[in-house]
Amino acid sequence: MTVIRQEATSGSTGDWHLERKRAWSNWMTGMMFLLPSLILFGVFLFYPMVRTVYLSLFLTDSQGVPVVFVGWENFVNLFQSTSFQLSAKATALFVLYTVPAGIVLATALAILANQKLRGIGLFRTMFSATMGMSVAASSVIWMFLFNPSIGLFNRILAALNIPGVQWLLDPQYALLSVSVATIWMNTGFAFLILLGGLQNIDQSLYESARIAGVSESYKLRKITLPMLSPTLFFVTTVSLINAFQTFGQIDLLTRGGPMESTNVIVYSIYKDAFINYNVGSASAQAVLLFVAVLIVTVLQFKIGERKVHYQ
């Protein structure tokens, strides 16, 4: 583009048409490169998004065909419904429980696994292993662990003479239990990315530090974490968005219950659209979720990125 502009300014006005033609053909070439992704995004992303906003203004029949235009009514009803407020609360809590804890855990494991020791490969494989497990398989494992009558956790409690806990049936514990399972599931991915980030840190910095004779914690605070911050920022952003969109483990472990304590917005959207056939109300929730994720991500870039140290 800069090339074209330079030519355009340097050329005389008589060449204007020619320049314009060239710019046009350049633009066409550019668009052609973009075409495959534009088509894919258009069909699978932009069109559904626009359609969702459109549907959120209607009541739909059971096949999702808009039948009655209601304007903002779907949104008004959502804001008045206690069920939606609970969903919003559950989503916020879920993000709070899973993202910070997950990242701290993954960072700690990555720092541990970054040591040059014999057999460290085994630990790196172990720590990243959950990445290779599907949500469904992991959920089934946790379902058995949490099972109140035959699960491992309550057997341990029983062995210690502590009364059993209904992990997934008690509204006080259900969201926490699902969060623990989620942290376990997501750690592998965050661990792997963070380990990659650690290995990219220039070793000469550590050499200088060793010569200066600073303590380990000083190295961690002044070299490792700042140099890791771009990776941490990336992992945080991806984890946040992931946490907002969690579905599989909720569906398998609690189905949104008990008392809607784990009915996060994505699950509530699913229930409304595919069990209750209220596509309009589900679309309205999807729009609100989109706005929420957008706000959080923008805030993160505005505030969080200031602390990121790019080399």
Binding site: T29, L35, S83, S149, P171, G257, F274, I275, N276
Partner: protein, 446 residues
């Protein structure tokens, strides 16, 4: 530059070719959908039977296909009842729609309202088919205003299942199942030990509906939606409150076990001895007897001491015929339905699965007699259905927002364990169900 143009043109062409191909393949499958290679009319059948049930169903279908040479029924598993219905929703009224579909009982009103179904009544009238051979309580559920919409297929009802060994250990008579709430409470109290609770109900709307109907209570107004469009839920009346009080009292006394929303968890709790009595589907009785490490007893659904026993609502599913399909396919679906309801087939089906025979003549078949000798508990489930009075309560509610209503009831049940007042919990569920009914009415423009 030129290459690029060629490349992108090729890609556009490819895309066009792809879309062209899909259209073509749709057409070809459509052409072959009606007949197989040997000239049989193909009838696609979507169902929700998994595991052992699917095996039994496939055997039934294979036998039908072998029994005649005009039609070929092709069973396709489409997930749970809810999932299958969601999938049907995306294709109903198009060429992709299956000719025959298994839909759970609470989807009845939904299917009628969908406008894509052919009532089987038309075939019954045309042939002068005698429907009186069917179990009345079952056909009642699936007929509305005297029109039989779908063909009952796999039917079940709730029963009380109890651990006979635990009864004996607690000094109770293992041959006498509790019939009333106070008998249930007393038994549960005697059965409760450190490791074992007395009684448990799955947090699932169906059991609540059944316990309300057992006392003659209605779920929604307009005679349970059978006299007209239901506009209000009424399950927060005396009957609903009796059920919720029972749960609340027993939970507070520490004799009730909260087994969550998952059927497998509830059955695991029973089999592992965490609870000595549960409510379960009659279709699960045989599996429970086979798998439990103790003697299993089966009893009727308990009712309050002073209530008259009305009986049970039929659960399970029925077979629906699609409307916009070729006449031969409809005929094929009808032939299959008739075959499936015959006494011999129903007898085999009852023995294989534990579902009721919709044709009571099946109970006289030798295989059923033999089976009952081996599993006398199965007879209890059939007797409970036979003794049911036919009225609006046991006819079952007819609303299209049933899945949502059930979620509300489950929520209310769960809130009981957190100390919510039973009447308050019920009122809340009713209010939310009313809201769903209202939205539904707005959609259909009533």
């Amino acid at each position: 530059m030129k290459k690029l143009w060629i490349g992108s043109t090729a890609m556009v062409l490819l895309l066009a070719a792809c879309s062209g191909e899909t259209e073509e393949s749709v057409e070809t499958t459509d052409a072959t959908a009606s007949t197989t290679e040997d000239g049989k009319t193909e009838v696609v059948f979507w169902h929700a039977m998994s595991g052992e049930l699917e095996t039994a169903l496939n055997t039934l279908v294979d036998d039908f296909n072998a029994s005649q040479d005009e039609y070929e029924v092709e069973p396709v598993f489409q997930g749970t009842y809810e999932e299958a219905l969601t999938k049907l929703n995306t294709v109903a009224g198009t060429d992709e729609s299956p000719a025959m579909m298994q839909v759970f009982e609470v989807g009845t009103k939904f299917m009628i309202d969908s406008g894509h179904i052919q009532p089987v009544q038309d075939f019954i009238d045309e042939e002068g088919f005698d429907t009186s051979i069917w179990e009345e309580n079952i056909t009642n559920y699936y007929s509305v205003d005297g029109v039989q919409y779908s063909m009952p297929f796999n039917s079940s009802t709730p029963v009380l299942i109890y651990n006979k060994d635990a009864f004996e250990a607690a000094g109770l008579d293992p041959e006498k199942a509790p019939m009333t709430y106070s008998e249930l409470k007393e038994a549960a109290e005697a059965l409760t030990t450190d490791a074992q609770k007395g009684f448990s109900i799955l947090n699932y709307g169906w059991f609540f509906e059944e316990m309300v109907a057992a006392q003659g209570g209605l779920f929604v107004n307009e005679e349970n939606g059978r006299a007209g469009q239901a506009t209000e839920a009424v399950f927060n009346g005396e009957e609903g409150l009796n059920v919720f009080n029972l749960i609340k009292d027993m939970y507070d006394e520490g004799t009730y076990y909260n087994s969550g929303q998952n059927w497998d968890d509830m059955r695991a709790a029973f089999q592992s001895g965490a609870t000595a009595m549960i409510l379960d589907s009659s279709a699960g009785v045989k599996g429970m007897i086979d798998n439990a490490p103790f003697e299993v007893g089966v009893g009727y659904l308990p009712v309050p001491d002073d209530a008259e026993r009305n009986g049970v609502i039929i659960g399970g599913a029925s077979l629906w015929m699609a409307d916009d399909i070729p006449a031969e396919q409809k005929q094929g679906a009808w032939e299959f339905m008739k075959y499936a309801s015959s006494a011999e087939v129903q007898a085999q089906w009852h023995v294989d699965t534990g579902y009721f025979a919709i044709n009571p003549a099946a109970y006289e078949e030798q295989i059923v007699v033999d089976q009952w000798e081996q599993y006398p508990q199965l007879k209890v489930t059939v007797d409970q259905l036979k003794e049911t009075q036919a009225n609006a309560a046991t006819g079952g509610a007819l609303i299209s927002v049933f899945p949502e209503a059930r979620q509300r009831v489950v929520n209310a049940m769960e809130s009981l364990y957190q100390g919510t007042d039973p009447q308050e919990a019920l009122d809340q569920a009713v209010e939310e169900t009313n809201r769903a009914l209202e939205v539904d009415a707005a959609k259909s423009g009533n």
